[in-house]
């Protein structure tokens, strides 16, 4: 699709010098932008650059701002999300906003339930409609399942389906693929392709450059709340975009080899996790592997392959407890509570930040020091100054962008919140670090920093297990990759043998006869 720069009166969305200040931060500074009808416009920027804030203004979530917003040539000022929806704008939020105790279908139709005979809810109808939406996304989530039973990736698909069901002509997607594996993301892209044929205007935020260059017509870069530039995709490069985002060059991280893993740190033998009442019977089935000191082991697999379950088993957070043997430093362990795992020197950064990681009523400091308060003790009591110093250390180490250690954690951008949680666990100086999709929502620069940190930790002898929805990430980071499919280990690749294609082959190997470790 060609895009001639049309006069702004014809543009579908026009943002005119919008400024948004939060106490202590200017999230947006005089941002002007116009998006043509039917365009897919990508927004790039570091964590905390103001991307989500701008989208929230467009979607009526934030109602107090300076500046003007025009939709289809008419000046609008939304008083709430309902106004925005009425004007044809819908949004997929970065932070998942679903009601856990309701079914998937009920969530999708929340606020505009399908009714029968005037008053009665038509559950059947809603479930059917939901199933149709999911068919578009080629996913098989049961519409009657409760949302709180879903993993983040599935929840994200529900959010996407919800936004799609609104059939708006402006669709905002704030990091829609952050928890999706490449396969699910591909399905989403096919849906996006269909939407574009229907002429839907899409605003798309992502930290994944591949996606942006695959989808976008134009790319706008934000930095520190200001619009740096808007570029045509054809006339730019990844390099230029990242440069504009960060303001400096980011070398793609090449962790030089020469990491030499030591002796066995963690031995997992025939780990199985039952799945009562499910046709598959096992969430994990006879998983065996070894993690060595100073090694980064990647776990790859599609959604539902059991990556998160595996980490939860190792961390003593699975219920019911798994069967099989786990040896830590040669000694058998059977953790029944994360506290025991933590005491034994394990740490886990879970994938569902909002629900399982964040203490939204606490400050940045409290979120960072929670697991290591002992270090701040003096005579049995927490000493404020010490605790602040510890928190400040972490804020600097991970360059967390915050107004200070006393800022509320919710005032941070998504990626910076994630860094706080990583910092919390790094502070415990674990022997084994379990990272469940740790870079979800983190910008390119911060990712590179995190890779370097992981590399350094591992060189000091820590054993690290990483899962990721992005294969390139695993390929960069890991010494070895274990591939899961439907709860079984279907393949194992050593560093020299990595290729995304082979990983995908293993990840989709659904037959039972594939033997574990076939590739090693």
């Amino acid at each position: 699709m060609t895009l001639d720069p049309r006069p702004s009166t014809l543009s579908h969305i026009a943002v005119r010098s919008i400024t948004k200040r939060f106490p202590g931060v200017t999230a947006l500074q005089d941002v002007s932008l116009s998006v043509a009808r039917g365009e897919l416009h990508a927004i790039c920027g570091e964590n905390g650059a103001g991307k989500s804030t701008l989208m929230k203004i467009l979607a009526g979530v934030i109602t107090e701002y300076d500046g003007e917003l025009q939709i289809a040539g008419r000046s609008v000022r939304f008083a709430g999300t309902r106004d925005a929806a009425a004007a044809g704008v819908s949004i997929i939020h970065q932070e998942l906003n679903l009601v856990g105790s309701l079914s998937v279908a009920a969530n999708i139709f929340l606020g505009r339930e399908v009714r029968r005979a005037g008053w009665l809810l038509d559950d059947r109808g809603m479930e059917q409609a939901t199933a149709e939406l999911f068919a578009q996304l080629e996913t098989d989530i049961r519409p009657s399942r409760l949302v709180r039973e879903l993993r983040v990736g599935d929840q994200q698909l529900v959010e996407i389906a919800k936004a799609l069901s609104l059939r708006s002509d402006i669709l905002i997607m704030d990091e829609p693929t952050s928890a999706l594996t490449d396969q699910e993301a591909d399905r989403l892209f096919r849906v996006i392709g269909r939407l574009r044929q229907q002429g839907v205007t899409i605003l798309y935020i992502s930290h994944k450059m591949d996606e942006i260059f695959r989808l976008a017509d134009r790319i706008t870069v934000l930095r520190d709340g200001s619009l740096v530039r808007t570029l045509d995709r054809e006339q730019t490069s990844r390099r230029e975009i990242t440069h504009l985002m960060v303001g400096r060059e980011i070398e793609s991280v090449r962790l030089e080899d020469g990491r030499c893993p030591g002796d066995a740190l963690l031995d997992v033998e025939d780990l199985s996790l039952p799945w009562p009442g499910h046709a598959r019977r096992w969430r994990l089935e006879n998983v065996s592997f070894q993690l060595r000191r100073g090694e980064v082991l990647g776990i790859a697999g599609l959604m539902g392959a059991g990556r998160t379950e595996l980490l939860e088993c190792l961390f003593g957070a699975a219920s019911p407890p798994p069967q099989g043997r786990i040896l830590l430093d040669g000694r058998p362990v059977a953790f029944t509570h994360p506290a025991e795992a933590k005491a034994a020197g394990m740490a886990m950064v879970s994938e569902d930040r909002k629900r399982l990681g964040l203490f939204s009523r606490m400050t940045v400091r409290e979120n960072i020091t929670l697991c290591t308060l002992r270090d701040a003790l003096r005579g049995g009591l927490i000493q404020d100054s010490r605790e602040r110093r510890l928190a400040r250390e972490s804020v600097e180490q991970l360059s967390i962008r915050t107004a200070g250690t006393e800022a509320a954690i919710t005032s941070l951008s998504g990626g910076n919140q994630q860094k706080c949680i990583i910092a919390r666990w790094l502070r415990t100086q674990p022997r084994v670090l379990l990272l469940d999709d740790p870079t979800r929502g983190i910008d390119v620069g911060a990712k590179a920093e995190l890779y370097t940190i992981i590399d350094a930790l591992c060189r000091r002898g820590m054993g690290i297990i990483v899962t990721s929805s992005e294969l390139p990430e695993l390929v960069t980071l890991c010494d070895r990759i274990l591939v899961l499919c439907e709860g079984r280990v279907t393949g194992e690749l050593a560093r020299g043998e990595f290729s995304e294609q082979r990983i995908m082959e293993f990840a989709t190997q659904r037959e039972v006869h594939a033997s574990a470790g076939a590739a090693s």
Binding site: H337, A339, A341, K342, R355, F359, S360, C371, E406
Partner: protein, 416 residues
Amino acid sequence: MSEFFRKHRNELGLAVAVLVVVAITATLSETYHSAAGRAETARIIFREAAMLGIFALGAAVVIIAGGIDLSAGSIIAFSGTIFFGLLITLAPDDPGTRWASDANLHFPQTDELALWIPAVALLITLAIAFLVGSFHTWLITVIELPPFVATLASLVGLRSLARLLIQDITVLQYGQRQSTITINDELLTSVSRESWWVSCVLWLVLSGALWVLLSKTIVGRHLYAMGGNEEAARLSGIRTDRLKWLAYCLSSMTAALAGVLYACYIGTTSPATDGMGYELNAIAAAVVGGCSLTGGIGTVAGVILGTLFLRVIIDSVAKLFRSQPDLFEGLVVGMLVVLAVAVNQLRSTGGVRKPYFPGLLGLLNVAIISVLAGVMTSVTSSEAKLRNGLLVAGGTLVILGARAIAERVKGRGSRV
């Protein structure tokens, strides 16, 4: 300095509110006009606030930890019964008295008890309260009942149990069924007179201890974390079950302590009525003091001030409404609790500018508040009830109506 103000806005606001209420009462009521009257008033306020404050602190810990404990009122009745029951059981016989049913048996002598008797009785009472708290925790963590249900069962059940127990105890010790026990011991009953400060000291000590626990120790931080996000707390290696155990035991034990104090203060325990509805007072004190019922938020200083605020209001109602003050108490307290929490809420969400009376619900509430104001004026005025009521109702209607209309005009303007 400004950071101090921002952080403690809630506490400072409450302190000002307490002073304002006291100032208003002091100007309007003549009890404040003599030094003796002032001293007496202060004493009453502090004594009552201390007794409420003690178990309000316990209730607050549970609320901060993300739960709720509804059983306080019944635990007060129950522990009073246990304490007095133990006293008459342990007390020596009084040879000068005879049972009506059996002339060979004597009544217990409770005028001057040896010191060890109340001490042992107190320890046993607290131990039983610990068991009650542990039972709640088991119901909540193992059987996975919602805290509301588990403690509601105690609220209903424990009072009933106390009423049954007191009959059996009195049959054993007095030879006849009674629904109350009276103790005459000088030392214990002196808390209602010259030893009124005992509860205050206990309140202070407990406040200090809980302040340290909540804001200076790891356990305290973990309590806040659990209240804020229980699942995340568990995954951070926090033993949430043990924390709940601590919280619910603190709550039931503080309630038991208050129960003992109430019983001594009155000198008679009657489980049918003791502590009726007090659990709600405790929760109100905590919430007015800034605790969030969804957990994770609250401070000891806030709870102390919340308690004082409630007691000061109750005292002020008693002084200012000369006839039947107890009838007005509920109305005034209810109103001010809503007001205090609403002010807090609006400040924290920055919603001073938001519309208060949107849509049909808004219009209906303009009417409701006006009628309420009118009715309240009319029941409080001694003469010309109808005229006063209509005047105030009309006035409120005009003011709120103007606001509602202004909101609608402004709303239309900004939604072009």
